[in-house]
């Protein structure tokens, strides 16, 4: 189960390399639309989230209020967790920010996600920055970026592990659903605050993103050769996962923004900056 390329190089495609290309040099960009807008905006969006995430993860405090537990900190394993939300052996791990222990899974899921890969390869790697715009650095012969190996080598070959992160993400979606239910608990009874609704929306968005994942689409039925032999899996593939997958990009962004917003709302309530409006 080695993840490195086989030692023997297979017979190459018989093609002459080095023919002269038509049109102006590749460094000339002929596109007249604002092709740079999309990589710029999405890149800034991702960057903003990373900055927020780092701040949140290292904050280590103000991540719960009532039974609202910030999704960045769930599940909560450490001694500083509120008792109701403590999942693991409380106090056994110490006082490190609990977010750092759990974020690896949802972050790994998003980092290896096919949609986010497109986004950061375009925005950060500039490979390519936009369609029919040259990979940055590729126009310099012999330059550091003149060669390209895509996802064939370490570390990018690890993108193939997306599926395992999906398994974890599936469990996390369950946990966030539990948290959403918990968000309706107030004291010893049940109620509903604005935060409860925010948590429900959060869970819905997370499920929409998780179930629309390309790996999920493959596992639930896409990997079949004959749908007709597995009608139930086909139904899930066609009626649930494929429609969600068609909007994977949308849910990737909505769930990302909402999870930050949910965390920030908890922070605001926990710090007493705002008061959580109670409906009953």
């Amino acid at each position: 189960m080695s993840v490195v390329q086989g030692a023997t190089r297979p017979a190459p495609i018989p093609v002459e390399i080095g023919g002269v290309r038509g049109g102006p040099p590749r460094s000339v960009i002929l596109r007249k639309d604002r092709w740079w807008l999309q990589p710029l905006v999405t890149g800034l969006g991702l960057l903003a989230f990373v900055v927020y995430g780092v701040w949140t993860a290292f904050r280590g405090d103000f991540y719960f209020a009532h039974h609202y537990l910030s999704p960045f900190y769930s599940p909560c394993f450490v001694s500083s967790c509120p008792p109701a939300e403590t999942w693991g052996p409380a106090g056994s791990i110490g006082t490190v920010s609990p977010a750092l222990l759990v974020l690896i899974f949802p972050m790994g899921f998003r980092v290896t996600c096919y949609y986010y890969r497109k986004t950061y390869y375009r925005s950060f790697w500039a490979s390519p920055p936009a369609c029919a715009v040259a990979d940055v650095g590729s126009t310099t012969p012999g330059g550091a970026r003149s060669r390209y190996s895509g996802e064939t080598r370490f570390p990018l070959v690890l993108q193939n592990l997306h599926r395992y992160f999906w398994y974890a993400a599936f469990i996390f979606a369950g946990i966030l659903t539990y948290d959403a239910v918990e968000a309706f608990r107030f004291g010893n009874g049940w109620g509903m605050g604005l935060g409860s609704l925010i948590f429900v929306v959060n869970a819905v968005l997370i499920w929409s993103y998780t179930l629309g994942c390309h790996a999920c689409r493959h596992l639930c039925g896409g990997g079949l050769r004959k749908f007709s032999k597995a009608p139930a899996r086909y139904a899930i593939w066609r009626k649930v996962v494929t429609p969600l997958n068609a909007h994977h990009q949308l849910f990737a962004w909505l769930s990302l923004i909402w999870i930050a917003w949910t965390d920030f709302y908890v922070y605001l309530v926990a710090t007493g900056t705002i008061h959580d409006p109670r409906f009953f």
């Binding site: 189960m1 190089r9 297979p10 017979a11 190459p12 495609i13 018989p14 093609v15 390399i17 023919g19 002269v20 290309r21 038509g22 049109g23 102006p24 590749r26 960009i29 002929l30 596109r31 007249k32 639309d33 604002r34 092709w35 999309q38 905006v41 890969r117 497109k118 986004t119 390869y121 375009r122 490979s127 390519p128 369609c131 029919a132 040259a134 590729s138 060669r147 390209y148 895509g150 996802e151 064939t152 990018l156 193939n160 997306h162 599926r163 390309h214 790996a215 493959h218 896409g222 990997g223 050769r225 004959k226 749908f227 007709s228 086909y234 997958n245 068609a246 990009q249 949308l250 962004w253």
Partner: protein, 301 residues
């Protein structure tokens, strides 16, 4: 999200002035060959309801009779007239002039990924070489009552078979567009579509997963989706062909759970690349079937 789709294939900003009948058009056409070339500007009057190919043909008929351009059906069905219009890979016959801004000249240049032959005509033989390396459709034994297939099982393949082989996806793919040396081990989006079609064909019996990884180089694809953006047939190349292929390869190559499952359940191991390579056109030609490529003295001379 809106920010991500705003600059997709649909083209130019709506606010810009676009071509209308009678207006003067300025067309910058790339003229040249392997010795070099440059844009040449042509001016002509816009006519009603034209597409870019019509304008090119009018330039050819009235101003530049030796202008080289490939075309056939003029209805978006054959995929011959691929070029780059204002820097975007498109079919000239399916790009209406009225969608292009006319406040500055419209540039038309040949596809960049393939060596130029002359003007807008490029040498696309790379694609036909790859086609010879595709392990062919290999059905199981035919039952006495003939093959049966269900509509749900053929629909995925039908999407892929819409492909008109315009090679715009091959052209836009940065793996070979910007890194030509990858052509020797990267088949390109058009052929991932073909391979996905075969892997999803309800009657096919080959397992091309190792082949797709080792010989067709699917790992070079970093799913930046430009192939999908330029596809004139709206084939969801990335989502429906390339990613499913990548996931199938994860099954056969990167997933120990699947590996264990195969061992326990006694399922067959994935086929090796060598095994399926025997089913290609290149292998058939190599068997001496068609020795026509020997160019020495076949004729009486």
């Amino acid at each position: 999200m809106a920010i991500d789709t705003a600059s997709s294939t649909s083209g130019s900003p709506a606010s810009t002035e676009t071509a209308s009948t009678g207006q003067e058009l300025r067309i910058r056409l790339w003229r040249g060959d392997e010795h070099g070339g440059d844009f040449v500007e042509y001016r002509l009057q816009a006519q009603e309801g034209e597409v870019v190919l019509d304008v090119v043909h009018r330039i050819q008929a009235d101003q530049a009779p030796d202008l080289a351009v490939r075309w056939n059906c003029k209805a978006g069905k054959c995929g011959s007239c691929s070029a780059e219009i204002n820097g975007r890979p498109r079919l000239m016959c399916m790009t209406r002039m009225s969608t292009l801004p006319t406040d500055e000249p419209i540039t038309i240049s040949p596809m960049r990924t393939f060596p130029v032959m002359r003007d807008l005509v490029t040498d696309v033989s790379f694609n036909f070489e790859v086609a010879k390396l595709i392990p062919s459709f290999t059905p199981g034994p035919k039952p006495p009552e003939g093959y049966r297939m269900q509509q749900v099982d053929v629909e995925r393949g039908q999407e892929f078979r819409k492909c008109i082989e315009c090679f715009l996806c091959q052209n836009v793919c940065h793996v070979i567009r910007d890194h030509e040396d990858n052509k020797v081990h990267y088949a390109g989006p058009r052929f991932f579509v073909r391979l996905a079609e075969l892997e999803m064909h309800p009657l096919d019996t080959l397992d091309r997963r190792a082949y797709v990884r080792e010989r067709m180089g699917v790992g070079y694809c970093n799913i930046t989706k430009c192939c999908t953006e330029v596809c004139p047939e709206d084939i969801h190349i990335t989502d429906n062909a390339i990613i499913p292929l990548k996931e199938r390869i994860v099954d056969s190559r990167y997933d120990p759970v699947a590996w264990l499952g195969r061992k326990i359940l006694g399922r067959p191991s994935p086929m090796s690349a060598e095994q399926v390579a025997a089913h290609t056109g290149a292998a058939a030609a190599g068997q001496g079937r068609a020795a026509g490529s020997d160019r020495d003295g076949a004729g009486p001379g």
